[in-house]
């Protein structure tokens, strides 16, 4: 029996449903599914939870972490500090143990004795002889390795008071159809649970109590939601080139298509997934399909966006609907491929040479990832232009508690202004780029519609309203003006910002996308300090007038974004002619979400300096 390190002198943290458990593992050791099992069990107990996977750009061997925040109050953003560390990686164990807050806990594999430099006198050590247990109980070498992860989840169940029935039910669901795996997994959970109960006083002072805070909600990642949104939105063609962190978008699309897009009579497919040779081909395929009247998309990340620039300009100028999902990661260049950033706003808003401008949508939750993905196809068809849905790694690859996805069966697809043979028959002369309705959106036809009418020449070179080549500068300028008008018309179709404006506050907070998860915590904490802020969450670009109005109505607006160069602020200056002095950036670009404390501190520091300079808003 290994020596247990216990100290009665330590004053451990006492907290219910409000703490952080962090798992330190070796990439490729099979820990991911065990850690997910832990997080989901908390969710099923009705307690708000937000898991965050911090993983390396590596297949096997490098360190990986899984940080789970549990918050009764429903604060799902990042929080600094670790209350319980599951220290399973010898490469990082020193810094992992050092990162635990005083009074916190370290769960470790006590089959190996901890060296002296790893012993702190202000944390509680929870040793579980994982190796010994697995060697004793399992015969297969792979099982001995993999079940270590399940054993520590079983131990955590005892330590933290997880409902064991919740865990066993999840294991049974996970291995449905592979019944042989259910019993050994449950056995492994029991082994951990049993060891913890027999050797420690369980539960700890840090513990869970079942509640009802997650009733009706779902726990889902954004990329899965986007893939499903593409199925619901009527996409038939997904063309892509593998690129972290966007890959799981297409995985999800393919997975749901295999279930939901098979013709019941023939067993044939109502979809196509093409793994292209590169991102250029991926977007080219989407454009060819969009031109020919099928809904098509591609999913990529920063490096792919760089490669797609030329094609994006073509789709903008030749007015071809496509949907592009940008799951942003840290740039420039290869950057940090497995870390998150909101760094592609400028490169997407004005992608490609010449005067271009693209519609961007900013989902902030998996629910919105689903909704915006599906809606993007309507918007692209209506406006005949690319729509770029701007998610990021944090939103895309981590699971988030959110509202269930919703679909209105009565609302069909908006395929936009497409003329069929009968409508063409009634027209004297079809002009592909003629602004018939004075809204900047012309009418289009699909190839093969009519024997004599409606054919036109699509080109990226300058064209007149009848799609004929022109080098007449005035005709070209008219075309550019119409394209600008079209993007004004777009405001009727793209999601409006979410505004919380009490009318009496002088300070505003503007943000978008994954930053949303930190905001409620910031606001609640500031309210306790007597500081109130109005908020505006941007959901789309170009900006609605209400964005400009919000900036005007507040003395100072904090603009929070996850990049170095204040790209949203730049867009606000360019597009809303916003006063630079009325905006203050809160920037984060270290690859992880800014925590609520960090945002709050920046706001407080800024307010202090304003007071100091006598410029405090009245």
């Amino acid at each position: 029996m290994p020596k247990l390190i216990k100290s009665s002198k330590i004053r451990t943290i006492t907290r219910v449903n409000d703490f952080i458990v962090k798992f330190a593992n070796v990439n490729g050791s099979g820990s991911a599914s065990a850690n997910k099992l832990f997080a989901k069990s908390v969710f099923r107990m009705g307690i708000p939870v937000s898991p965050n996977n911090i993983f390396p750009s590596n297949i096997q061997g490098l360190p990986t972490w899984y940080e789970v925040r549990i918050s009764e109050a429903g604060y799902l953003g990042r929080r600094e500090g670790v209350d319980l560390m599951v220290a399973m990686n010898e490469q990082t164990i020193k810094s992992d143990i050092d990162s635990v807050v005083p009074g916190g806990y370290v769960l470790y594999n006590s089959s190996k004795t901890l060296t002296k430099n790893l012993i702190r006198d202000d944390v509680q050590y929870l040793g579980i002889p994982l190796m010994d247990i697995c060697l004793r109980e399992f015969n297969h070498p792979a099982q001995r390795q993999l079940f270590k992860n399940i054993v520590y989840v079983g131990a955590l169940a005892a330590f933290l008071n997880i409902d064991f029935k919740v865990l066993t039910a999840m294991v049974s669901e996970q291995f449905r159809g592979k019944e042989k795996l259910i019993l050994p997994n449950i056995h492994a959970l029991e082994l951990g649970h049993q060891y913890a109960t027999e050797n420690y006083s369980c539960p700890l002072d840090l513990q869970l109590q079942a509640g009802d805070k997650t009733t009706g909600k779902i726990l889902m990642d954004g990329n899965t939601a986007i893939g499903l949104g593409c199925v619901y939105g009527g996409a038939t063609i997904g063309a892509w080139y593998p690129l972290t962190p966007s890959t799981s978008v297409v995985d999800s699309f393919a997975k749901y298509c295999k279930r939901l897009r098979i013709d019941p009579g023939t067993g044939k497919k109502k979809y196509s997934v093409i793994q292209a040779e590169d991102e250029l081909a991926a977007i080219g395929i989407a454009i060819g399909a969009g031109w020919n009247g099928a809904r098509a998309f591609t999913a990529t990340s920063g490096p792919g966006i760089s490669l797609m620039q030329e094609f994006l300009g073509l789709a903008y100028f030749a007015e071809i609907p496509i949907v592009l999902f940008n799951i942003q990661r840290v740039g420039p260049s290869t950057g940090m491929p497995t870390r998150s950033q909101q760094g592609d706003l400028l490169s997407c808003a004005y992608a490609s040479h010449g005067d271009t401008k693209h519609i961007l949508l900013f989902p902030a939750s998996p629910t919105e990832c689903f909704e915006f993905a599906a809606r993007a196809f309507d918007i692209a068809d209506r406006l005949q232009t690319p729509v770029i849905v701007m998610s990021d790694l944090e939103l895309g690859m981590n699971e988030h508690i959110c509202e269930p996805m919703d679909w209105d069966d009565n609302q069909g697809y908006d395929r936009g202004k497409v003329l069929d043979a009968t409508q063409l028959e009634a027209i004297e002369k079809f002009g592909r780029y003629l602004d018939v309705d004075n809204d900047g959106i012309p009418y289009r036809t699909y190839p093969g519609t009519h024997a004599d009418k409606g054919a036109y020449f699509t080109r990226g070179s300058s064209h007149d309203p009848y799609a004929a080549y022109t080098e007449d500068g005035d005709v070209f300028a008219d075309m550019m003006d119409r394209l600008e008008l079209k993007l004004t018309t777009a405001l009727q179709y793209i999601p409006k910002p979410e505004i919380c404006n009490e009318g009496s506050n002088t300070l505003g907070l503007m943000f978008f996308g994954s930053t949303d998860s930190a905001i409620q915590e910031v606001l609640d904490s500031l309210t306790k300090k007597g500081i109130k802020l109005d908020t505006l969450r941007i959901k789309a670009f170009p900006f609605h007038d209400s964005v400009h109005e919000f900036l005007n109505e507040h003395e100072l607006t904090y603009v929070i974004e996850q990049n170095r160069d204040a790209q949203l602020k730049s867009l606000l200056k360019i597009e809303c002619n916003a006063d630079n002095d009325k905006m203050q950036s809160i920037l984060s670009y270290n690859g992880v979400l800014p925590s609520a404390q960090r945002i709050e501190n920046e706001i407080l520091n800024s307010m202090q300096s304003l007071e100091g300079s006598g410029e405090v808003p009245a």
């Binding site: 909600k217 093409i274 040779e277 009247g293 020449f457």
Partner: protein
């Protein structure tokens, strides 16, 4: 080149095809290429090929890249939709278009700069993906629009008008196509209408990826005696494999088949290609032999033309992907959207 519009007038006794259409119904705008450009002969051959086989013009989608060659879709089949995309990327656009509607004829037009240099990657992958289309490369060994630089198909030692000599081995699009799995590969010469027209007809009819590399001399920049793709060299050195006839499916075959001297290939839709003269000496189904034949001619400074290789047993992308019969672009909300009840079940899997 000329900016005049084509007159709408047509001769009352102009011959009509099975659809009651005349050649005029297959024409395009007036060419803006140089007088004598080989590409204009390709346009003329496409017009005649499609008119003679009574193809419905609006059932053709023309897709091209960038360059002199990629401009020519404007000069034929005005009743067809056309997409002049970006440089070297026609293959991906054609792939997407084909996926969206499998029922149209897809005609890809590209050049040697477009397909052998900037777009070589996309060319390779569209061949691998077996898109059901006819892909034409108008090959003149030079970059015309940028005034006469050598292209990657120019033979080693071939010279441009400005005296620049190619220092590098050329890329042979026909052998590349065969090696990558194209199921119909031909080479022809823009000046040989008699051969080119039936090849275009056969290529359009072929189910799968059909490729024709057409030597099409650039009169302005690459037509001196020392240029491999010039008129002189091509006239003197192109060696036609056979005389070829194409008999569309709907026509009754009136001439008799001469087994000893002809090879007959029945296409997917029942049309027939007849190869005369070669008799049984050349087997167009033999991939290795086709490569050998091209390379042997090249060694002797000759250009092997004709239908070099055909394989009618491969599947196209739609078959490989097992897609539904209805074109994707006709599928409706009802066909595609699983609805709210299914979504409720899916929500439950995330609880």
């Amino acid at each position: 080149m000329s900016y005049i519009n084509k007159p709408k007038f047509q001769h009352p006794q102009l011959e009509t095809n099975d659809l009651g259409l005349t050649r005029r119904d297959y024409e395009g705008s007036f060419t803006t290429l140089c007088a004598g450009c080989g590409h204009d002969s390709i346009s003329a051959a496409i017009i005649q090929a499609t008119a003679d086989m009574s193809l419905e013009p609006h059932r053709v989608a023309k897709i091209s890249g960038i360059g002199c060659s990629s401009k020519i879709p404007a000069y034929f089949l005005n009743k067809s939709h056309s997409f002049n995309s970006v440089h070297g990327r026609m293959p991906s656009v054609a792939t997407g278009a084909n996926l969206a509607n499998k029922e149209l004829y897809y005609l890809g037009i590209s050049g040697d700069g477009d397909s052998a240099s900037i777009g070589l990657g996309q060319f390779c992958h569209i061949v691998r993906r077996r898109i059901n289309m006819l892909y034409i490369v108008a090959n003149n060994g030079t970059y015309g629009l940028t005034k006469g630089q050598l292209s990657a198909t120019a033979d080693l030692g071939s010279k441009t008008k400005s005296g620049e000599e190619s220092q590098f081995d050329n890329i042979d699009m026909a052998t590349l196509g065969i090696e990558l799995g194209a199921s119909f590969v031909a080479r022809s010469f823009s000046g040989d209408k008699k051969q080119l027209i039936p090849l275009i007809q056969a290529g359009l009819t072929h189910k799968g990826f059909a490729f024709i590399d057409i030597i099409s001399p650039c009169v302005t920049f690459n037509n001196i005696d020392a240029s491999a793709q010039g008129y002189k060299n091509t006239w003197e050195n192109h060696v036609a494999l056979s005389e070829i006839d194409f008999v569309p499916m709907r026509e009754e075959i009136t001439t008799s088949y001469n087994a000893g001297k002809e090879k007959e290939i029945t296409m997917h839709d029942g049309s027939v290609i007849r190869l005369h003269k070669t008799g049984n000496h050349y087997d167009p189904y033999d991939k290795e032999n086709a490569l050998h034949h091209i390379n042997q001619h090249k060694k002797q400074g000759k250009i092997a033309t004709g239908l070099l290789y055909i394989n009618q047993s491969t599947s196209d992308l739609h078959e490989l992907q097992d897609t539904v019969e209805k074109p994707f672009n006709t599928l409706t909300h009802h066909d595609l959207c699983p609805g709210s009840d299914v979504l409720a079940d899916i929500n439950n899997t995330f609880r």
